[in-house]
């Protein structure tokens, strides 16, 4: 049960009544009894909350940054009208609105309410409880009860880099069938025969076919298809670091001025997105491109154990499967186990493939983790390491003027030197490296993939 403001108001009026009553003692007893009787009437005649039934429908999948609507149908099988407020409780990062909904369900009927979710975090968000507060006829007291009505919404990665996809697909078509190459080279395979037109390279004339067809026929070539691409996402501690400016604000990023009791000495820079999310964005663009290019894409997320594994998805369903697999992945605050990761890759990729490792090019972590075991991987596969660099470090390195800024610049320069050193070492091992700031990592990785494909190195 609960009371309403009206009960408090009646009691407050009672103060005046008691103050001016000729016999204050009995007046007090009278007002209290009246109030108690009113509350009892309300509690007895309020619509029952317990027999209410709830049904949900609506969206189960939503991309981060978009809105999802979930409908909640309230069925009142009781004998009295239920009038009051309803709260559909979701975790804070689900961004459920409005917080309270007005409810008025006559006996034996049902009503549909709509809750809008604006998630601020990837992963599965599950509804927690439905609370109904059913007012009595006098409006003095209300019955209140909770129901559990399960519903889960999966928040998918936003795939913001899909804006880069058309231009990369156009580039891919240049390499591919629509613009078949006439020169046979490494990494190309036979595509088709066609009639010779003036300007074609005479060396590509297929004389045997020409003899059969009474016409001059040339062979065309296209880049190899059905290569394998394995995208490996490092979900260890380095992937939790936030870089860049968040295109979609995430839960946990405390806005300035809303810090509550904590007094902040200075406005802190916006924390941005975790490296993990930028890497996912890049992985999605690469997967979309590779699927269109006819390659098979597998996906592995690993820190100290396999967090996600996707293999053998058909080309049309690859992206939807991939975002679904990626959605619940969070950065784990443990050091990634590079040896285990390499073992997991080797056990899954039997044939030669392009292993795209999305990680951080962090000197200390790389030296101890990946560097010693990388030769095992690069001897059997083509390895591409992609790292998201921090634009804040670049900004710090350019800082001049005061001694503080120069010290910061020196620290940033130190970090960048370390990064260049590790990049150079990786390249010496025959590993391809893509190092780009958050906004450019997805197109840079896609371009590198296209370059590898054009060079026939897959």
């Amino acid at each position: 049960m609960t009371l309403t403001g009206r009960a408090g108001l009646v009691a407050a009026l009672g103060i005046v009544v008691v103050l001016f009553a000729p016999q204050p003692g009995p007046a007090l007893a009278g007002v209290c009894l009246l109030l108690a009787a009113g509350i009892m009437v309300d509690l007895v005649f309020a619509g029952a909350v317990r027999p209410l039934r709830f049904h949900r429908s609506g969206e189960r999948l939503v991309r981060l940054g978009q809105r999802a609507t979930v409908e909640l149908t309230v069925e009142n099988p009781g004998s009295r009208r239920v009038r009051g407020v309803l709260r559909d409780a979701w975790p804070p990062s689900a961004g459920a609105a409005p917080r309270e909904l007005a409810l008025d369900v006559p006996a034996g009927e049902r009503r549909k309410l709509v809750v809008t979710l604006t998630p601020t975090r990837r992963g599965d968000r599950e509804s927690v409880a439905v609370t109904v507060r059913s007012r009595g006829p006098l409006g003095l007291a209300a019955r209140q009860g909770n129901h559990y009505s399960p519903w889960s919404v999966r928040v998918l990665p936003p795939f913001l880099s899909r804006k880069h996809l058309p231009s990369r697909l156009a580039r891919l078509r240049e390499l591919e069938g629509q613009h078949p190459a006439l020169v046979r080279g490494q990494g190309t395979e036979f595509d088709s025969l066609r009639e010779y037109v003036i300007g074609d390279d005479v060396r590509s004339i297929d004389w045997r076919a020409t003899a059969r067809r009474h016409d001059v026929v040339v062979r065309t070539w296209r880049p190899e298809r059905d290569r394998r691409v394995l995208i490996v996402l490092d979900t260890g501690r380095t992937s939790a670091g936030r870089v860049g400016a968040a295109p979609i604000p995430l839960a946990g990023a405390v806005a300035d001025g809303q810090g509550g009791l904590l007094v902040r000495p200075a406005p802190r820079p916006e924390p941005g997105w975790p490296r993990l999310d930028w890497s996912m964005d890049a992985a999605l663009l690469l997967a979309a491109l590779a699927a269109r290019a006819g390659d098979r894409v597998d996906f592995l997320a690993y820190d100290r154990s396999v967090r996600a594994w996707l293999s053998g998805a058909s080309r049309t369903e690859l992206l939807s499967s991939l975002v679904n697999v990626m959605a619940p992945i969070e950065a784990e605050l443990v050091e990634a186990d590079a040896q285990g990761m390499v073992a997991a890759i080797l056990s899954r990729a039997k044939r030669r493939c392009l292993v795209v490792l999305l990680t951080d090019l962090n000197g200390a972590a790389m030296d101890e983790g990946l560097m010693p075991v990388l030769p095992q991987l690069s001897s059997r596969h083509l390895v591409l390491v992609a790292g998201v660099s921090d634009p804040r470090v670049a900004a710090m390195a350019a800082g001049r003027g005061t001694a503080e800024e120069v010290y910061d610049a020196a620290a940033a320069e130190h970090a960048r030197l370390e990064r260049r050193r590790i990049t150079a070492r990786l390249r010496r091992h025959g590993v391809e490296v893509v190092d780009a700031p958050p906004d450019d990592i997805a197109p840079a990785l896609a371009d590198h993939y296209l370059a590898l494909k054009a060079a026939g190195r897959l």
Partner: protein, 404 residues
């Protein structure tokens, strides 16, 4: 259109592996406790609470009545009381009468021993003419009961003192725990238990008997009575063969004085409704508190990911450089970064030595070779200003080389 084939349509696909609980339209389960379940779960606790309250009430009602500690009260058994002394006196055949007002003391008549212990609310001026022996504690009653004794204004520490006098009651008792106030000995009197300032026990004859003034009465309390010669001194002073009028302070100050000119207090003047409406106000506040305090549904908790900015390690290193004034390291990092960027632009290999680099820069940019050498390979800067200047000059070189 090129992009259409790969557009993501999340609405249409649910992963084969699942992960979503298929609720099939949802049903619902009420989760609030029913009245019956609350009663079932809470009845044991309610019973225990009831038992605790009952036991506590019984103990309070049936237990011995321990009132406030009353100093020097012959009926008080607490450490501050003096029941032990009163019982000892009665055992020796001395009549002890406890009175709590001047009128009662006068009613008992004269030629007794008047013991003025704690007289906070007693008007002792009415007793000034009462004949007989007197035993007075402290200096409050001196102006009325013993006007010829003057107290020394300084406080005297209470401790065990020796009699050092010829008073038989004191010498027989020996050392006693006394102090508080010291007095100047009046003419014809005896001073015992002296401190530096004066005697803490003074005895002198008045018209109809003997008046004794003591600085403190701690030695007569139940706490101290068994120590030293305290009991002996107290008995010697009180057992004079006369009945004892033991004056104590009444429980409540005499009423009537606080009322106004017409004998009516503020509460009498207030309308009767005010008190009752106050009760009603409490009820109203309680109702409003319950209204505002009742939450609409549970608090939802969520484990949020930690927010760590990746640049924090670099910023921390910068602050460390600053805190330790690590100019050499800072300059080395800046130089190494610049050289790393300059050598490819100058067409030199990774392993180019310092002279080659400096010579190449000097030739290309026309800068002074010595200055370039000092900036890129010279000694570490000595001050922060030198470091800032060095950073600026290295920038200048880089800009010149990149403009080529």
């Amino acid at each position: 259109m090129a992009g259409e084939g790969v557009r993501v349509r999340p609405e249409e696909s649910v992963p084969a592996s699942g992960g979503l609980a298929p609720a099939a339209g949802g049903g619902s389960v009420p989760t609030s406790p029913t009245v019956r379940s609350v009663w079932r779960g809470g009845r044991l606790i309610a019973l225990l609470g009831l038992i605790v309250v009952a036991v506590a009430t019984a103990v309070v009602l049936l237990g011995p009545d321990r009132g406030a500690q009353r100093f020097l009260d012959p009926d008080d058994t607490s450490l501050q009381g003096s029941k032990a002394l009163a019982e000892l006196l009665r055992a020796r055949g001395v009549t002890v009468d406890r009175v709590d007002s001047a009128e009662a003391a006068r009613a008992l008549g004269g030629d007794r021993l008047l013991f003025a212990g704690d007289t906070t609310y007693v008007d002792t001026s009415a007793l000034a003419s009462l004949p007989g022996d007197r035993l007075i504690v402290g200096f409050y009653d001196l102006p009325t009961l013993a006007p010829n004794v003057d107290p020394v204004p300084e406080a005297v520490r209470e401790r065990s003192r020796d009699p050092e006098c010829a008073l038989p009651a004191a010498t027989a008792a020996g050392s006693a725990y006394i102090g508080g106030v010291a007095f100047e000995v009046p003419d014809g009197g005896t001073g015992c238990y002296p401190s530096h300032e004066g005697s803490t026990l003074v005895s002198f004859p008045n018209g109809s008997g003997t008046t004794t003034v003591v600085g403190s009465a701690s030695f007569m309390t139940n706490l101290r009575l068994a120590e030293d010669g305290n009991a002996a001194l107290a008995l010697n002073l009180l057992d004079t063969g006369k009945p004892v009028t033991w004056l104590v302070s009444p429980d409540t100050p005499p009423a009537g004085d606080l009322a106004g000119t017409e004998g009516r207090s503020m509460y009498d003047l207030m309308p009767a409704g005010v008190g009752w409406s106050l009760v009603m106000a409490c009820v109203a506040v309680a109702l409003v508190a319950f209204w505002r305090g009742r939450r609409l549904g549970p608090v939802v908790v969520e484990r949020l990911p930690v927010v760590v900015r990746a640049a924090e390690t670099v910023e921390g290193r910068g602050r460390l450089y600053r805190a330790r004034k690590a100019r050499a390291r800072a300059a080395d990092a800046l130089r190494a970064g610049a050289i790393d960027r300059l050598t490819p632009r100058l067409g030199l290999g990774q392993g180019a030595d310092s002279r080659e680099v400096v010579a190449a820069i000097a030739v290309r940019t026309g800068e002074d070779a010595q200055r370039v050498g000092a900036a890129l390979y010279g000694p570490s800067p000595e001050t922060d200003d030198e470091l800032v200047a060095l950073a600026g000059y290295v920038d200048h070189i880089e800009r010149k080389v990149s403009e080529l």
